[in-house]
Amino acid sequence: MMKKIVMTTALLAGLSVSAFAEDKIIIKGSDTLGAKMVPQQAEAYKEAGNEVGFEIAAEGSSSAFTNLLSGSADIGMSSRNIKDSENESFTAKGKEIVETTAGYDMIGVIVNSANSVESLTLEQVEGIFTGDITDWSEVGGQAGPISAYTRNTSSGTYKSFQEMAMGKRDYGSDTQKMAGNEQIAAEVAKNANGIGYVGLAYVKKDGITPVKVDDIELKPENAKDYPIARSLFFYTIKGELSEAAQKFLTWATTDEKAAAVVERVGFIPLKK
């Protein structure tokens, strides 16, 4: 009898907690995902008839893990894989982290629109950003010293680009570290000798042109072959996900409307 009462109370408590949590899904983490993609997905999710509130904060991939750890987020967004040190902090609390791919992003190498260079090999890209190649004439352009603009070290893209396009070599000391995609695009647009890299969503800005890398054009259709593409992730904690959050996560990674949003904001949905 006693056992029954305890069970019922526990069940009721559990139910009330989950009913409470259904009101709001808290998503925190990467700026790449949180700036446009996830908020628009949330809107679309609500439009599809799901009555649920969202709280979304985009403060960088690292904040996904600190917030998940402290329990102040249901879902974490990240543009990079979890680090070992971060994983250990979850282990220490007896928690296990679950990774879900949210979509793919292609990083475009952009040059000034007035630049006659239309295509670079991956080796040339590596040479330019590591500082081995210093003049445009070395890669078939008009003579002029190359100005390379990169993200700064706290950006997930900085590391992804290093791993995918630079053979893990260090950035050359002549590279300039910009605050974000926007600033890179703006500087390249204003500097005839500029080169930089930005996410797919930013390559349509005025004054810049994406170059082909290894002769592959920067197009969502080419995501499989394009050498500088990466995954974007949702992170959750095993067993701690509320039903509503789980439902949203499943919707965001499988539903066609969610995929349409991913495509609209300039990323590549899972199926492609």
Partner: protein, 676 residues
């Protein structure tokens, strides 16, 4: 009546008033203010201890990191890598020289084509919203035409309905066609408007000068290639063909040059693949070392986790995983042996590479046609002559190298304060040398001072000594108002306005004699320095004006009595008398500049490299990174308590001590002022 106080009795109401714990209201007020003052001091002490606590641990950690760099053999591999770097420079310069020669042949055509591209891209991006609109119209028109064609083909089930539909579509199509035509007209007008503006030529690469006819051609060709037009203008097509034809001829005549540089770049390949293998070994070693250094943490984490695990099976799993963590220390001697074993092979490759360079470099052309080729080939000759020295040096260092050589405690200190590289978040090894950041900060501050000091001192002297009261009442608040502008606003101004303006000015032909002009970048030391000068003006002006104000009236009156003029009095009497106050003002202005973050982060260009001082004064047109900037940029994502975190705190400490010294000396100098 008796309770009326007598006139000569002391007033007693203080003692009668509010009392609590034996203290009166007055005392409480006194202690409240005293408490606030001491709170400020306590907070300051807390900040100091916090900075020290976080920062000091950096040195032992960094020493360990540098030791690991040695133990894993990465240092050894970097020595081996040096010759490749040296070769890359030689190869790169030779390449630049070759292409300079090659492009010389078609310079006329390429210049026009480049200008055509620049102007075209500017005009197109200026009208991009209209172009996008036009594209949407065109798509719609195509859709409608398709539908119409389909309707016309398919026999309509209901003739009247089908006809109505066709009519409706036709009306819509007509509407869109009209709109599209109108928009095309508008775009054309905009094109003309932009092209008529002389400033359109600012978009052309610096160094390209076109004749009047060529400019005409560019304008016509850009106007020709309106949205929707795929074909290039015939003369442009001709130029493209000419350019590639001329290049083809030139390639043939430069065939020997080309084969030499190809051989030169091939010469390094065996060495490159050899060093790549070494790097793989060393990277593997570094991974082992990393794993070992974090194994203890992972073990603890898993054990802790097992205590908190929800279910028994989870608990068991955690404990199992903890047991599987490899906590044995890697044997560094063993794992670096394969590297040392390859020293001889490296030497052999190095000798071969030296021979190839010595053989090939003399084959490069002696008398190139272009200035750029000549310069670059000279560099090649110099670097090639120096190559054996570099090879010898790296050989010696590799021979001397020992995985277990101890570093003194001061090694990390030296590596931090005099290190030339700040490499964080690296896949190879992080280095934290403050020198590039320090020089950047200092250079920007010096420029800012050089600009701000004369302006603010002159303004202070004018306002204090020469201006009428009405002028004073206007100028002083106006200058002090500058201090109210948020620095992020100034930063945006620097990016959007000042940077572009400076570069445009630097590209004026008549100014090309100024060192560093024409500038390649918008975000430079100069740009940041000018903005900071603007920010420092109110500080220096206000303090200097105070200092001038403090000079006793008697001094200048004496001077007038001796028959000195106003100007003589100011320059010979008042100014020297207030010099200590003015120096203090300048120092405090300097402190204000060095500590500024937002402007330098946005505007300085963030290049982590010691500026190239061989350019002389032109060094100011290069980008640089700063101490404040790096903290703001990197602290956000760094792991708490990691080496990188410690390094950023050390940078903070250095900044803190700089401000402390500056403020302290300013106060000491100010004290001298009290002599008067």
């Amino acid at each position: 009546m008796s309770d009326q106080p007598q006139a000569d009795e002391p007033i007693k109401f203080r003692r009668k008033g509010f009392k609590f714990l034996g203290l009166g209201l007055q005392e409480y007020i006194k202690y409240f203010f005293g408490g606030n003052a001491s709170l400020a001091i306590i907070v300051l002490v807390l900040i100091c201890t916090f900075l020290l606590k976080e920062g000091i641990a950096f040195f032992p950690d960094y020493n360990k990191e540098l030791r690991e760099y040695r133990q894993t053999g990465q240092e050894f591999v970097d020595y081996a890598d040096r010759q490749i770097d040296a070769h890359t420079r030689i190869n790169s310069d030779a390449n630049i020289a070759y292409y300079a020669e090659l492009n010389q042949s078609s310079k006329f055509e390429d210049d026009i084509l480049s200008a055509y591209r620049s102007v075209g891209s500017f005009v197109r991006s200026a009208t991009s919203s209209e172009t996008d609109q036009l594209k949407r119209y065109t798509e719609r028109i195509e859709d409608l035409e398709d539908n119409l064609a389909k309707l016309a083909e398919a026999p309509a089930t209901d003739e009247i309905d089908g006809r109505a539909q066709i009519q409706q579509l036709a009306v819509e199509l007509d509407d869109y066609q009209q709109r599209s035509e109108k928009l095309k007209g508008e775009i054309l007008t905009h094109f003309r408007l932009h092209l008529a503006n002389e400033s359109i030529w600012e978009n052309v690469r610096p160094g390209i000068h076109l004749s009047k006819e060529s400019k005409e051609l560019v304008l016509t060709a850009v106007l020709h290639k309106q949205p929707g037009v795929k074909e290039e203008y015939p003369e442009i097509k001709q130029l493209m063909a000419d350019s590639s034809a001329k290049k083809k001829v030139a390639t043939e005549s430069l065939a020997e040059f080309k084969s030499t540089i190809t051989a030169l770049s091939k010469a390094v390949r065996p060495m490159k693949s050899f060093v790549r293998d070494l790097k793989d070994i060393a990277s593997e070693n570094a991974r082992e070392a990393k794993k070992f250094s974090t194994a203890e943490l992972r073990y603890d984490a898993l054990l802790k986790g097992s205590e908190k695990a929800a279910t028994e099976s989870d608990k068991q799993r955690f404990i199992e995983q903890a047991g599987a963590v490899d906590r044995t220390k890697p044997n560094f001697e063993e794992i670096t042996k394969p590297l040392i074993a390859k020293t001889d092979e490296h030497n052999k490759l190095s000798v071969e590479l030296q021979k190839e360079i010595a053989r090939l470099v003399p084959l490069l052309p002696k008398n190139p046609a272009t200035e750029s080729a000549r310069e670059n080939l000279q560099k090649v000759q110099g670097n090639a002559a120096n190559f054996p020295n570099i090879a010898e040096e790296s050989r010696e260092e590799m021979m001397d190298w020992n995985f277990d050589k101890k570093n003194s405690v001061f090694h990390a200190l030296g590596a931090f304060f005099f290190g030339k590289h700040w490499i964080s978040n690296s896949s190879w090894r992080d280095f934290y040398g403050i020198l590039p950041l320090f020089t950047g900060s200092l250079l920007i501050a010096l420029i800012a001072l050089a600009v701000a000091v004369p302006f603010s001192l002159a303004a202070a002297i004018y306002v204090n000594q020469l201006a009428s009261r009405r002028e004073q009442n206007f100028i002083k608040p106006a200058i002090e108002f500058i201090g109210a502008i948020p620095s992020v606003v100034l930063g945006f101004f620097g990016i959007l306005v000042l940077g572009t303006a400076l570069r445009n000015v630097s590209q004026i032909e008549a100014l090309s004699w100024i060192p560093g002009f024409p500038m390649a970048e918008r975000l430079t030391i100069l740009n940041a320095g000018l903005l900071l000068a603007f920010m420092a003006v109110p500080t220096i002006f206000t303090l200097a004006e105070d200092a001038l104000n403090n000079v006793p009236q008697a001094l200048s009156e004496n001077s007038f009595a001796m028959g000195a003029s106003k100007l003589q009095t100011i320059l010979r009497v008042v100014f020297p008398a207030s010099i200590s106050g003015i120096i203090a003002a300048v120092l405090l202005g300097f402190g204000r500049i060095v500590g500024e973050t937002m402007v330098v982060l946005l505007v300085a260009g963030n290049k982590i490299k010691i500026p190239d001082f061989t350019e002389g004064i032109g060094v100011v047109t290069q980008p640089a990174h700063t101490m404040t900037g790096i903290i703001a940029q990197e602290l956000g994502e760094v792991d708490k308590g990691s080496l990188h975190w410690g390094a950023l705190f050390m940078v903070g400490l250095v900044l803190f001590f700089m401000s402390l010294v500056i403020n302290f000396s300013a106060q000491r100098i100010l004290k001298k002022l009290q002599k008067f």
